[in-house]
């Protein structure tokens, strides 16, 4: 009996193999789709308190504002890419934490402006380097830029390590500081005086995210 089955399988090896591959592909497609659909601004903003960040992202070359219209998803820069498991784990943890803050916590208490002092902690450098592979040699970068990138390199793996965002302060989010201020002014003097700007941003945002 066993033998028969084996034989059967053997005779239809190709078919089985194909089925296996197919199922595997289907799985990864689902996985891929799952991860993919949960990777862009439209998904992330459901839980994350990030309207101004998304608005600023839409004004940035990384958010489709460039000539090519290329868009980099949130997770490209904001989640680790060194291995899939870490990626999924971070994603899941973030999801739970942010969801909890969104639904049960007090998002207003988040001090965006203060958090920007640690901006490099919110950006995964591998994400940047994944595209900007030649950041150390690209001749379109100014001499000073290349020198600073070499400086960055020399600090890697030391306790003085810096991140891409340490210098590229608003990377990925063009006009971030202003955008954050439209939502939550840094100085009380501006309270209530930037509402018109905020309204405009909200309007545009709801259109783009439709």
């Amino acid at each position: 009996m066993m033998k028969k089955i084996l034989l059967f399988i053997k005779s239809k090896l190709f078919l089985f193999g194909a089925a296996g591959v197919f199922i595997g592909l289907l799985f990864s497609l689902a996985m891929y789709e799952g991860l993919h659909r949960t990777s862009d601004d439209k998904f992330c903003i459901v839980c994350h308190e990030m309207a101004p960040m998304v608005a600023a992202y839409h004004n940035d070359v990384h958010g489709g504002a460039g000539k090519t219209g290329i868009k980099v998803t949130c997770v490209t820069c904001h989640l680790p890419h060194d291995n899939v498991l870490a990626y999924i784990a971070t994603k899941a943890r973030n999801g739970v934490v942010e969801g909890a803050i969104h639904f049960f916590g007090n998002p207003d208490a988040i001090d965006w402006h203060a958090n920007r002092a640690n901006k490099e902690h919110f950006v995964e450098d591998e994400g940047c380097i994944g595209c900007h592979t030649n950041y150390k040699t690209n001749t379109n970068i100014s001499a000073k830029g290349l020198k600073m990138h070499a400086h960055y390199e020399s600090l890697k793996n030391t306790d003085k390590k810096i991140g891409c965002a340490s210098c590229h302060a608003e990377v990925g989010h063009h006009g971030l500081k202003s955008m954050l201020n439209y939502y939550k002014p840094e100085y009380p003097y501006y309270n209530g005086k930037l509402d018109k700007q905020k309204e405009e941003v909200e309007k545009k945002l709801s259109e783009t995210l439709k």
């Binding site: 150390k136 040699t137 690209n138 001749t139 100014s142 001499a143 000073k144 290349l146 020198k147 600073m148 070499a150 400086h151 390199e153 020399s154 600090l155 003085k160 810096i162 340490s166 210098c167 302060a169 608003e170 006009g175 500081k177 202003s178 201020n181 439209y182 002014p185 840094e186 100085y187 009380p188 003097y189 501006y190 005086k193 930037l194 700007q197």
Partner: protein
């Protein structure tokens, strides 16, 4: 005939690639070398926290000024802007302040045209120029000049 043409193009291609290689090679600098600096000098010329955080060295700013700190000169706008891009760019980053006409990088009086070191000093306390006429308002409009 045809093969000659192909050969020629391949030759040109290879040459160009080689050139580009040399080009990019030359453009890959090594980080500025650390120059010895006495504790006394360090105290005399402290640097701003946001620059210290990046572990910048004297020669990152004082480029091509030799390696004797005693001879270092002001780096001027050009020096600052080699990292900070342009005055218009810096003004744009504080765009929300334009709403109330208090953007220090795009003031009503001067636009994005002031010298950096009219207000910002790396080795001593910065001095907000707006204060000379707006002594009371500046603290409402913006933080202390970094």
């Amino acid at each position: 005939m045809r093969s000659k043409k192909t050969l020629f193009s391949i030759g040109v291609f290879l040459l160009l690639s080689a050139m580009s290689l040399i080009g990019s090679e030359a453009a890959t600098p090594s980080p500025a070398k650390e120059i010895p600096i006495s504790a006394e000098m360090k105290e005399k010329f402290p640097i701003k926290a946001h620059h210290a955080k990046l572990s910048l060295k004297c020669t990152d700013c004082h480029e091509n000024q030799g390696d004797n700190p005693e001879n270092f000169k002001l780096i001027g706008d050009e020096g600052c802007l080699s990292c900070h891009k342009s005055k218009v760019y810096l003004a744009e980053r504080l765009k929300f302040m334009d709403t109330l006409h208090v953007n220090p990088h795009n003031s009503i009086h001067d636009g994005p045209k002031l010298y950096c070191d009219e207000c910002h000093f790396e080795h001593q306390k910065s001095d907000n120029m707006c204060l000379s006429c707006h002594s009371n308002d500046v603290k409402l409009w913006m933080r202390e000049t970094p």
